[in-house]
Symmetry: C2
Subunit: 282 residues, 2 copies
């Protein structure tokens, strides 16, 4: 049952063992129904990882692929707000969480959907976090999916490690911005994926060139081309650059991701190319 207290996850004893077995079975059964499991990662927060994960999932669903979007960020879950889902998740007869439908082909689950007070800080120590992440992934009742997009917590610590170890057969998509400080962290992300044997689909450069809506001039807010150069240097596929567009920020805040509309903006076009590049690599 998804709302169970995570504090128990490290205990031993017969009933705990039985719970663990059920969880393992649920996990295996759930993951076997999903063709492509993609973990969206970033070495650094604030590079637009959640916004990209949301737009990617919405774009794949828009192409008719049955897609799931799972937000595993315990401390700053933002997928619920970005997709406009509200309220707690329903629970199935066998006590599993039922994802929320967003349109025809997209199902969404966020940690936010488990919190009664969304402003409450979750202060969990490492082992409890590992338990809850595993439980959270195992106890969701996904249908057959072509894609599961997992919005992983940033960094290279406990939480992305638990996600990578729990979702067997997953592959990583790494998001960065072009500036050096973000790229230093992205090299750590690539090392992390290699250390835990997580195959990398490729690297996406977010928050690229910004075109001033007044004069049409392009401004490099976070420098340029750093993502492509890092991908080449580290031997990782480069999947493309997404321009910076304040409308993407607004759309995510309003729960209507830009990929859901019929926008012909340069962001929407660039996103479509990145989505095609990802699908081609699978």
């Amino acid at each position: 049952m998804i709302a169970k207290q995570p504090e128990n996850s490290g205990c031993s004893g017969a009933s705990q063992q039985a719970t663990g077995d059920v969880q393992d079975r649920n996990l295996e059964q759930t993951l076997s129904k999903i063709k492509n499991k993609l973990i969206v990662m970033s070495g650094k927060g604030g590079v637009g990882k959640s916004s990209f994960a949301t737009n990617l999932a919405v774009a794949l669903a828009g192409k008719g692929f049955p897609t799931g979007l799972l937000d595993v960020d315990l401390h700053g879950p933002s997928i619920a707000a970005m997709t406009g889902i509200e309220g707690l998740l329903d629970v199935s007869e066998d006590q599993r969480a039922v994802p929320k439908a967003v349109g025809d082909c997209l199902k969404v689950v966020s940690m936010q959907s488990l919190m009664k007070d969304p402003d409450q800080a979750v202060i969990w120590r490492g082992p409890a976090k590992t338990g809850v992440i595993r439980q959270f992934i195992a106890d969701v009742l996904w249908d057959d999916l072509d894609f599961l997009i997992v919005d992983s917590p940033p960094g290279t610590g406990d939480e992305p490690l638990s996600v990578a170890q729990t979702i067997t057969g997953a592959r990583a998509l790494i998001v960065t911005t072009p500036q050096d400080v973000a790229l230093a962290d992205v090299r750590k992300s690539i090392s992390f994926c290699r250390a835990v044997n997580l195959d990398i689909v490729g690297l996406v450069e977010n928050m690229g060139p910004f075109v001033c809506p007044c004069c049409g001039k392009t401004v490099e807010l976070f420098k340029s081309r750093g993502g492509r150069i890092t991908a080449e240097t580290m031997g990782v596929n480069f999947l493309g650059t997404l321009p910076f567009d304040p409308n993407v920020v607004k759309a995510c805040d309003e729960g209507t991701p830009i990929a859901a509309g019929s926008s012909d903006s340069s962001f929407a076009k660039a996103l479509d190319q990145v989505v095609q590049a990802i699908v081609a690599k699978l």
Copy 2:
């Protein structure tokens, strides 16, 4: 000794106890020499927390205050690059780490200064992280300081919790950007500070209005005024808005923070007002 393996930190036994006692004594002695300990926090990564911490420390040092800048981000330490310090830290006769001097009044210590390969991902589980953070803070040989600025890891998990619990008497500065998704996380940060009895000096809104260098028109990249409204709603001091300036991104990447120069840019002016507001609150 700062380079000791963190894996031992949870063990018991006489020699471990003695090590713990020395660490407690070092910690108490170190913290007693520092007048104002400010932990720079954010609920969400990528809001410019490290950039703000660096510029704040450089600005305080520029006003003649002896200032320390400590980067405790295990997974994405960026202060070393932002302040242009290189190489491993020196070790004193009594086996404590010696901060690097940057100009006359600023001393800097970063996790990066302990890593031989800066691209290596640190994959530490929670308890090891707590041990290393505590050891890292205790084993640095600070002089008498007016200010210690601590760049805390983002979020509300193990790492900021360890920092808050280790640095007794510290107060928090919270950094955010104006958009809703960041603000949802900042409300969690405020709840976190209150849950762990960490006094909040105030909230700084970063990445505010951007003035196009070509046409001079102001563009709100990440929306506007969200930080001020959140501060008012949550009963926290609002310390000011810093505009978005691509030169700040570049300057941090180059290790020459903008506060160090004689810039009369709108960012430098706004930063000076924020620094004055912080000093006035202490």
